[in-house]
C-alpha cells in the first residue's frame, strides 16, 4: 500500500516535471545554439511565451478543411503526452511501468505521426502534402532502424518494457559493450530524425520547400497550433528521456525508495543538460542533409543496429 502511494506520488511528480519543463528544454537548446554561433539568442523562457501567445489567438480555420481539423491536434498531443508519461525520467517503477512496452511506445509515436500527416493533408494545398510525403519517407526507415535496435535491448535485458530494460541495465554488470555502443550511435540517428532536428530537418528554418515538420502545420493557428507545438516539445523530451533511461540508468531513483529521489532528480537534470549541450554542439557543426540522403543516414543506423545484434551474439557465445 505504501509502495503504491509512493509510486503514485512519483508518477504525479514525473508528469508535472515533464509537462512543465518540456518548453524549457527547447528554450535551452535554442539559446545554446545561438550562443555557440556568437549571438545572444532568444530568452530562455521564450517557448512559454509562444504557448501563452497562441492561447490568446483566435483559430483561423481554412475553408477547405473538414470538420476533423481539431481532431488531429488533440490526437497528436494525446499520443505524445501518453508516451511522455510512459517513459521514465528520474525514477523507475512508476505506475505506468507495466504499460511502457517498447512496441507500445513505437505505436504511440506512430499514432502521433499519423495525426500530423493527416493534419498536413487537411487543407489540400501543396506544402502540407509535400512535407507529409517526406515525413512518410523518413518514418519508413526510422521505424525499421528502431525495431532493429530494440532487439539488442530486449536480448540483453530479457524484458520488453523500458522500465525493466532500465532496471536490467542498472543492476546487471553490462559494462562497456561494443554492441551497446553501436546501438547508441544508431538510436541517436533515429532520435534526431524523429524529433525533427538537424541533420534531417531544420527546426529554425522557414523555407517551406525545405521544411518537414513545420510545413505540415502551416495551416494551423491558435489553440490547435499550440497543441501541435507543445506536442513537438514533448516529443523531444520523450526521446531524451528514452536515451537517458536506457543508456545511462546508473543512479536513477526507485519509486518506492523516497530517499533516492533527490539523487535521481539531480541526475535527470544533469543528463538533460548534457544531452542538450551535445545536441546544440552537433547542430551547430553540421548542415541539414538533402532529403534523399536521410534514408541513407537512417540506413546506416539500421545496419549499425544489425551489427549490434551480431556482436551481441558473439559476446553471448564467447561468454564475455
Amino acid at each position: 500500500m505504501l509502495y503504491f502511494l509512493a509510486a503514485l506520488l512519483a508518477t504525479l511528480l514525473h508528469a508535472a516535471l515533464v509537462f512543465a519543463f518540456a518548453p524549457l528544454l527547447l528554450g535551452g537548446i535554442t539559446k545554446l545554439r545561438a550562443r555557440l554561433l556568437g549571438r545572444r539568442g532568444p530568452p530562455l523562457l521564450q517557448p512559454y511565451r509562444l504557448l501563452t501567445r497562441l492561447l490568446r489567438k483566435t483559430t483561423l480555420q481554412p475553408e477547405t478543411t473538414t470538420h476533423l481539423y481539431p481532431v488531429w491536434s488533440f490526437a497528436a498531443f494525446a499520443a505524445l503526452a501518453t508516451s511522455a508519461l510512459l517513459v521514465p525520467s528520474f525514477c523507475t517503477g512508476l505506475l505506468t511501468a507495466n504499460l511502457s512496452d517498447f512496441i507500445t511506445l513505437i505505436g504511440l509515436l506512430a499514432l502521433a505521426r499519423a495525426a500530423t500527416l493527416l493534419a498536413g493533408l487537411e487543407s489540400g494545398f501543396g506544402f502540407g502534402g509535400a512535407a507529409a510525403a517526406r515525413e512518410a519517407l523518413f518514418s519508413v526507415f526510422a521505424e525499421a532502424a528502431l525495431l532493429v535496435i530494440l532487439i539488442s535491448f530486449v536480448l540483453i535485458a530479457h524484458a520488453p518494457t523500458v522500465d525493466s530494460i532500465a532496471e536490467a541495465f542498472r543492476t546487471g554488470h553490462i559494462g562497456i559493450s561494443v554492441s551497446l555502443g553501436f546501438a547508441l550511435a544508431a538510436i541517436l540517428a533515429v532520435a534526431l530524425t524523429e524529433a525533427g532536428r538537424i541533420p534531417a530537418d531544420n527546426p529554425a528554418g522557414h523555407l517551406e520547400l525545405a521544411m518537414v515538420h513545420e510545413a505540415m502545420l502551416l495551416e494551423y493557428s491558435g489553440r490547435y497550433l499550440l497543441l501541435f507545438e507543445y506536442a513537438a516539445m514533448l516529443r523531444l523530451l520523450v526521446w531524451m528521456n528514452l536515451i537517458g533511461t536506457v543508456f545511462f540508468p546508473f543512479g536513477m531513483a526507485r519509486a518506492g525508495d523516497l530517499l533516492s529521489w533527490p539523487g535521481g532528480l539531480l541526475l535527470w537534470a544533469i543528463k538533460l543538460t548534457a544531452m542538450a549541450t551535445a545536441l546544440a554542439l552537433f547542430e551547430v557543426s553540421t548542415a541539414k542533409m538533402r532529403v534523399f540522403r536521410v534514408p541513407e543516414f537512417l540506413g546506416v543506423a539500421m545496419l549499425l543496429g544489425v551489427l549490434s545484434g551480431v556482436f551481441l551474439f558473439v559476446a553471448s557465445r564467447v561468454g564475455g
Binding site: I176, S177, G181, V300, L303, V314, A315, V318, G319, G320
Partner: protein, 221 residues
C-alpha cells in the same frame, strides 16, 4: 572484474575502428574518408597502448608510437597533399549503390563472425571477439577498395585493411615486434609507390578517375 575490464576496453577500441571502417563505405568525399582513416589510426594507437599495458609488453608501446606518428600524422598529411596537388576535392564515384555496398558490408561482418567462432574454439575465448572485429575490418577494407572508382579512395581502403591486420597482431599476445616494424615500412613503401603511380596516371590522363581504364579494358577484351 578488472580482468574483464581490460578486454571490454580493447573490444570498445576495436569497435570504434570497425565503426570507422564501416562508415568509410558510406562516404562520398575524399576528405571525409581521410578524416575517418585518421580516427582509425589514432584509435589503433590507443588500442596498441592499451594492449601494451594489459600484456605488460614494452614493444607494444613502441608500436603505438610508430602507429601514431606514421599512420595518424604523416600519412594523412601526405594524402591530403596529394588531394590538394591533384585537385581531387570532388566527390568519389562508386561502382555500386551505397546502400547495396553497406548491406554487403554487414554480410561480410556476418561471414567474419561465422568463420571466427568455430575455428578458434580451442583458443582463449576473449580473443575471439577481437579476431572477429579484426577480420571484419580487413574484409570491409577490401570492399571499399572494390567499390570505389577513384585510385586514392582505393588506397585508403587498402590502408584500412592494414589497420585491421595490425589490430589483430596487437591483440595476440606474443606477436614479434620485428614483424610490426616491417609491416609499417611496407605500408610506407607501398604508399610512395602508389604516389608515383598516381602522378604518372595523372600526367597521362589528366585525372585520377580509373573508370576510363575499366572501359578500355572491357572493350579491348
Amino acid at each position: 572484474m578488472t580482468y574483464s575490464y581490460i578486454y571490454q576496453i580493447s573490444h570498445l577500441l576495436g569497435g570504434i575502428i570497425l565503426l570507422c571502417a564501416f562508415s568509410l563505405l558510406s562516404q562520398r568525399r575524399l576528405s571525409a574518408m581521410i578524416a575517418l582513416y585518421q580516427i582509425e589510426a589514432i584509435t589503433l594507437a590507443a588500442a596498441a597502448l592499451w594492449q601494451g599495458f594489459a600484456q605488460n609488453a614494452g614493444d607494444l608501446y613502441l608500436t603505438a608510437l610508430i602507429t601514431l606518428v606514421i599512420k595518424a600524422i604523416l600519412l594523412p598529411i601526405g594524402l591530403r597533399q596529394i588531394v590538394q596537388r591533384f585537385n581531387l576535392i570532388r566527390a568519389v564515384e562508386t561502382a555500386m549503390p551505397i546502400g547495396l555496398s553497406m548491406i554487403l558490408g554487414v554480410a561480410l561482418i556476418g561471414i567474419a563472425v561465422l568463420v571466427v567462432l568455430p575455428t578458434t574454439l580451442s583458443a582463449v575465448s576473449i580473443t575471439r571477439e577481437d579476431l572477429a572485429i579484426s577480420l571484419s575490418i580487413v574484409l570491409l577494407g577490401f570492399l571499399v577498395m572494390t567499390t570505389r572508382r577513384n585510385a586514392l579512395a582505393q588506397v585508403i581502403g587498402f590502408l584500412s585493411t592494414e589497420n585491421g591486420l595490425v589490430l589483430a597482431a596487437t591483440g595476440m599476445p606474443g606477436m614479434p615486434f620485428v614483424a610490426e616494424l616491417s609491416v609499417a615500412l611496407l605500408v610506407l613503401l607501398a604508399c610512395l609507390v602508389l604516389g608515383v603511380f598516381l602522378l604518372r596516371i595523372r600526367e597521362h590522363f589528366d585525372s585520377l578517375d580509373v573508370s576510363g581504364i575499366e572501359e578500355i579494358e572491357r572493350r579491348g577484351r
